[in-house]
Symmetry: none
Subunit: 409 residues, 2 copies
């Protein structure tokens, strides 16, 4: 089966937002073995929208749209799709009830215009939206299928997984099975060089490197008749990559650095606390992304001022005076201080210059010291990043958490 992906919204045409939805949908269709030869973007304009449906259905039998299901008069995706299929829409009471409840739960009043979001043809498959007000729908008529999904990615993705994937399983030809290995601590080119011969000689399975901020992934993909066959095909390549990259591979699939670290802490019955300066709570907030963390995380201190470092963590005034707040010595006292005062096995710390101002020749913007105290033993590391304030803080957070992970291996 062939499909086309159509993203709808003036904000994409104007370049106000990046079209991440089409990428996500493309990826998942590839996983299902459904071919995509065209992706398009069109604005909230009735004529061009209708023309886009016509063109897409002249080439394929399945069209997946995202965007334009909102409550405003601008939002026309559904209305024009119903027109294309020659269908009347009526209010779907179940959908209306869910929308009403959504507003009730979030303590807001429902606008009259939100009712529009509950209108569907009687024979449409309605896709409930658990993360917003716009339900999606699937219409199937004369072997032409359209799936209409909301624009916000946090609404579109769960709806795609929960409702569209099961619906499409019947059309999936063979399967594309894939597995993502997550790498941290080595750069993209270094990691790629470590498996250069594998990258050069791939057929089935294939492996694709992809760099993201602060980490990278290798996606292994096998084409097979069954899921099991695909997994079997991928195994030797995965083993080989794992043996070359070693502990630089921290996880797989949707695992995150914090979920891997969180599980390690819980399994080893270790407790942790954080003392942050430049990252300002980001390290704690990242650790707490992991839902099971309450067994391990005790507390965090965001000690932005020198006074707070002294008062909360027992950092010595002399240390601050002699070495400055951005120093290995202060990072060490912070890590030790938070571990001591919170009574945890592990205490970690950050202190640095995230910019854009405040850098000096000796302590440039991007310089971050991190500290790690494990059962009384204290170590520190000097890190240097480029990028903006946000990048520097995010990378410092990731590298610190990766350091803790490696120490616990």
């Amino acid at each position: 089966m062939k499909a086309e992906i159509l993203a709808i919204g003036t904000e994409i045409l104007l370049g106000d937002i990046v079209n991440t939805n089409s990428q996500y949908i493309a990826k998942r269709l590839a996983d299902l073995g459904i071919l995509v030869y065209h992706q398009s973007v069109v604005g909230d304009n009735p004529e061009r929208l209708l023309e886009a449906y016509r063109l897409a259905f002249s080439r394929v039998d399945l069209v997946i749209t995202s965007g334009g299901l909102g409550p405003t008069k601008d939002d026309l995706t559904k209305e024009i799709a119903f027109e294309y299929f020659g269908k009347q829409s009526v209010v779907d009471k179940a959908s209306l009830k869910i929308i009403e409840k959504y507003f009730e739960d979030s303590g807001r009043t429902m606008g009259e215009s939100n009712k529009k979001q509950a209108y569907f043809p009687v024979d449409a498959v309605i896709l409930p939206n658990n993360n917003g007000t716009a339900p999606g729908c699937i219409i199937e008529e004369n072997k032409k299928i359209i799936a209409l999904l909301p624009g916000p990615p946090w609404e579109m993705k769960p709806m795609f997984e929960e409702a569209v994937v099961p619906y499409l399983q019947k059309f999936a030809q063979g399967v594309l099975v894939s597995k993502v290995l997550r790498v941290i601590g080595v750069g993209e080119s270094t990691a790629a060089e470590m498996i250069e011969d594998i990258l050069d000689n791939q057929t089935n399975p294939t492996v694709a490197p992809y760099a993201k901020a602060g980490e990278m992934t290798f996606r292994i993909t096998a084409k097979a008749n069954t899921q099991e066959e695909g997994i079997r095909l991928m195994k030797p390549m995965e083993d080989e990559i794992r043996s070359r990259l070693g502990s630089n591979i921290y996880g797989e699939g949707n695992e995150t650095l914090e979920s891997v670290l969180g599980e390690m802490l819980v399994n080893k019955r270790l407790t942790i606390s954080t003392a942050e300066s430049c990252t300002g709570g980001m390290v704690a907030a990242t650790i707490i992304n992991y839902p099971g963390i309450s067994k391990a995380f005790v507390e965090g201190a965001v000690t932005y001022t020198n006074e707070a470092k002294i008062k909360r963590l027992g950092v010595k005034k002399e240390t601050l005076d002699k070495y400055g707040a951005v120093s290995s010595e202060v990072a060490a006292e912070m890590a030790q201080g938070i571990a001591d005062t919170s009574g945890t096995n592990i205490g970690i710390s950050t202190t640095g210059t995230a910019g854009p101002d405040g850098g000096s020749e000796e302590k440039p913007v991007g310089l971050v010291y991190v500290g790690l105290c494990i059962n009384g033993e204290v170590k520190t590391k000097r890190l240097k990043f480029s990028g903006n304030r946000q990048n520097i803080r995010e990378r410092a957070t990731m590298q610190l958490l990766d350091w803790v992970r490696r120490e616990l291996l």
Copy 2:
């Protein structure tokens, strides 16, 4: 003038990479007042590529492509474009020299296949690539213009700015001037209803609502001959929208909630501290995104356990026992506690159930209490969110910061 943007590459069709090039080009064309009604993606396939050129030129006179200029046989963008325009290509010696030098400089040996990158029709405008091996080009024939740009964003963007923008200036019809107003605290549909008549009767300037996680924006756009005229045209509409939405508009352009709040705190010489449970450092980390915050932010406590709430913030054990950690009473004591212990004018707090587990009928997942202590006076708010753990924590963070902003107005 109208243009279309065409991204070329199997890796985009498969969803392996996000198509950021089209967003960038779209944004810059909008800045030039060049209209874009369609964006498309097609793979490195000769028939579909030729068809894509035909379709695009049936609708517009300017097509801008990115991708497919590489040295491999897969890369066909240029070859098919030359075919479409009926042009022969010959080696361009200047380009070849630059490519050879590029390899020399980076200490690599040039592959035979890279020569292909130096072939162009004699009347093409060649666009030098200062960041890679693939030169781009512009072909203009019978009022149809195509600009072929490389795929890697770090090559495409500089080339676009250095060569394409100057070339397109002659076609720029007036300018599109736009301004973004940032709204928080009202839902998309409610906000749209508040300016429904404006949305219904817009011509020039236009206004477009757009919802993001926890906030929304109105983009006002005016078409004018000059920047100044555009700003003048937008003014009455902006004034009207501002008068309707009042304090729900927190900022404009690239301002963020934290930058607006941070500036208010610094200007009013107020200090702030944070006490977080479910948000786990996210409130502090968000406040600290604002670079100038060190004048106002003193410290934050991430008190995830009951013990930490008692020890660090002086929350009473009886309060925790009687009302539970997720309660208005505990939020109040947390806010007061952090303000007292850190000696700040303002103390803010969060305590809630971010899920996915841990919810009960009385205290469901998504329930968050926030507390605010200003100069000794304590208030709390009950918030209820849907969505996943991350969404709940992010929305709670935004709503709390917005509450502080409103209190300081």
